[in-house]
Symmetry: C2
DNA sequence: TAGTAATTAGGACAATTGACCTAATCGGTA
DNA sequence: TACCGATTAGGTCAATTGTCCTAATTACTA
């Protein structure tokens, strides 16, 4: 199996699924962007679900790498949680254009009642468990999972409204509120 | 023009767009559900964008009616804001199945760079202005719009995660937190 | 060099899409 | 009754979809 070609296909599909959505992206679209024939494409992936599966696996791997990097980069749990919060600012342009890669994919798969929804939700779970670990480390063991879900919820809400309203100031304001929320959380604790 | 047929088509399209998404719903799907021929359908709506426009207008009208009813039903601004918060519980089943009707539509139209996105966003704006009015009435004039966006953001986030995780308890917990948030807001003020 | 497996290209397939057309039928009016 | 516009049904159109097949080409090995 030719790793480069296959990897290029997955990377391109990943980008197109994010920018246009899964259903709206066709085999022809991907093949064209990659610069190969549809026949060649079919040699690597028999069905559309198969390429979707590969894209999700790729995203899972990339997400795990990113979380591992945050784990090394942030000196304290609070620093690390802030790294999560600030993806909204770092990826602001893309989020305002296409929303959150995880949220929009899950939403689409859910509507289509697609069996891969469970796999896609695993992406959320990665963040959930990682965030929950940070809160546990802060001594908020019992509330850790709820707090993780709460932060996930807020980032999803910001992404959705940012995509609709195209309002840059709103994103910054909500990120500021999340920072304050985090500060209050450790103030009360300490 | 036959109002009943046309209205039935719009209502059916509205439901299908919500359940399956706009792109994933075809003329044939709608016509079949309504029980008319595709030719008849085309008599009422020339293009797919035309039926989308009609659906958005219908939703705008229904939303305005709902907000007017809340305005009459809630005795205080706080009561009215709570009516908004608790749609998450009242429509929980549908939200867990298909997400928020407004958020998922805007998200899809944004990905397709569909010109009707601006119209769909008007749905958000209706809620935004109405909520902002309630906060203003509470004396929080300067922060009113930010607070409105904040509540919209939270309801969107809850809807997205509820759709992905299918977690009923999470929805109730976040609604409780929103209630507390509202209480704190008026405590600080008073 | 010869041969074999991996890879690629190009086309074909049935099904479905949005769009369009024409003929039939309906309802109310003159 | 005769007429006419409003409504409906059914069929057609080119384009695109996911899927599949076969032949050519490449890369590697004996």
């Amino acid at each position: 199996m030719s790793a480069p070609t296959r990897e290029t296909i997955i990377a391109t599909a990943d980008r197109l699924f994010y920018e246009r959505g899964f259903e709206a992206t066709s085999f022809a679209n991907i093949a064209e962007k990659v610069g190969i024939s549809r026949g060649n494409f079919y040699y690597h992936f028999k069905t559309k679900d198969e390429i979707l599966e590969a894209v999700i696996l790729r995203r899972l791997a990339f997400t795990q790498d990113m979380l591992a990097q945050w784990q090394a980069e942030g000196k304290t749990p609070v620093d690390r949680i802030r790294l999560f919060i600030h993806i909204l600012v770092r990826n602001q342009t893309k989020i305002m254009q296409h929303g959150c890669p995880v949220g929009t994919l899950c939403s689409e798969l859910s509507k289509q009642q697609h069996p891969a929804l469970a796999h896609a939700t695993r992406l959320f779970t990665l963040f959930r468990l990682w965030l929950s670990g940070q809160f546990t480390e802060l001594g908020l063991t019992e509330r850790a999972d709820s707090l993780a879900m709460h932060l996930l919820m807020r980032s999803q809400g910001v992404a959705t409204l940012a995509q609709s309203f195209q309002d840059e100031a709103f994103v910054h304001e909500e990120v500021r509120l999340m920072d304050n929320w985090l500060n209050d959380l450790i103030d009360v604790k300490g």
